[in-house]
């Protein structure tokens, strides 16, 4: 248990006003209470515009706030357009997955940081996409809201697709992250609860721990310190 206690946890996909019902400062307070070291406030809207989050409160001690955008697109050319437009504006670029074409476009674009809920339509990734995700450093998202928001048949379908994703990600060594995809502070869960759900999704305890701490940490590090030279090339030391 020592290693869990000494880890810093991050939740990289949390939605706030004006898209969803909680203000950024409320979300930050709640996330701090749940035991996180940082969260990413992700804009999500049909126009795919990033509305700068002006946080009206002093940042809590030992807490980091990142900005992001979750891009929703219905075809590849629009997806790439939105990705190019959002670059250098946000810390973390997330693509809203589910559609097979969009999943492929996201994992093949090295500027994307996270492919969010790739299994939301019940279709798992395949070996080609998992390998591309590993090569381009695009993290595959395991969103716990699939488990807490759905019940019955749809949950079964999504969960079995997610398990397949976990198996392939392990095989090809693609980065995995666990996010809450929270739409209000009632959707936030503590880090250990997220790990428990990650273990239900077919991860080992160790993988679940890394998916909440070191993997998000390295994504942030890579983007914040401008270590990225070009797609797939970054300064490690």
């Amino acid at each position: 248990m020592g290693i869990i206690k000494s880890s810093n946890f991050y939740d990289l996909n949390v939605h706030t006003l004006p898209d969803y019902a909680d203000s950024p400062s409320r979300m930050i307070l709640e996330a701090k209470y749940m035991g996180y070291s940082g969260i990413c406030l992700t804009s999500i809207n049909t126009a795919n515009t990033f509305h700068g989050t002006d946080i009206t409160m002093p940042t809590p001690r030992d807490f980091e706030i990142y900005t992001g955008i979750e891009i929703q697109a219905d075809n590849l050319s629009k997806l790439n357009k939105y990705i190019n437009r959002s670059m250098n504006k946000v810390d973390i670029i997330t693509v809203s997955g589910g559609d097979e074409d969009i999943n492929r476009g996201a994992v093949e674009n090295g500027r994307v940081d996270i492919l969010a809920h790739p299994a939301s339509r019940g279709k798992p990734l395949n070996h080609v996409l998992s390998k591309a995700a590993a090569d381009n450093g695009v993290a595959i998202d395991f969103n716990i809201d699939a488990l807490i928001r759905h019940r019955g048949g749809s949950r079964v379908r999504i969960l079995s697709a997610i398990r397949q994703n976990a198996r392939l990600a392990r095989k090809f060594d693609a980065p995995m992250v666990i996010t809450s995809n929270a739409r209000s502070h009632y959707d936030l869960r503590g880090p250990r609860e997220m790990m428990a759900l990650g273990m239900l999704m077919g991860m080992t305890q160790e993988e679940a721990l890394h998916a909440l701490s070191t993997v998000p940490g390295s994504i942030i590090n890579r983007n914040r310190n401008n270590n990225r030279i070009m797609d797939g090339v970054e300064v490690v030391q």
Partner: protein, 185 residues
Amino acid sequence: MKILPPTLRESNRYLAISVTSEGDIPRRDLVNEILFCAATLHGDAGSSEMGIRLLSFEENKGIIQCRMDRVWETRAVLATVTSIKGMRTRIKVLGVSGTVRGATEKYLLTQDINEPEPERKRTQTIKESRMIIDVGTISGEVVNRNNNEIDLLSEDPHSLEILNRSNTRYFGITVFDIKDKEIDV
């Protein structure tokens, strides 16, 4: 009749929990919801192995018993509780201990010294004075106030659409969001 000797008893863990909700949750509804979630997530056979029991529940804090080797599964079950009787609910596990006394003393009575987290009291319900506040994009009536955190009820169509999307009843804001207006509760 003789009681089962200690060596033959199941060994248990005790989870201290704290419940956040849009309204007051009676003990019975909480128990039913947790057991229902256990049954939907792990099935009847799986939940019988976990041995979940709610031992005490007062002032939105309680203790849950489960089998020693099923703590992770129990955490997953508690994480899937999203609403009780139509009110959005969130359960946070404060900590796990090997005895009821340990869980109570470590997690329910004392406060963490490292993090001076203000004590979470039951949210006050404001009935007498209607308070309307304006937070830039939304405005509405204060429903609950808990230290810096405010729940806001708003009924204009645009706000209702956002609330619907988020599946909540109230907007969650803080005192920091309110511009140049002081409110007292």
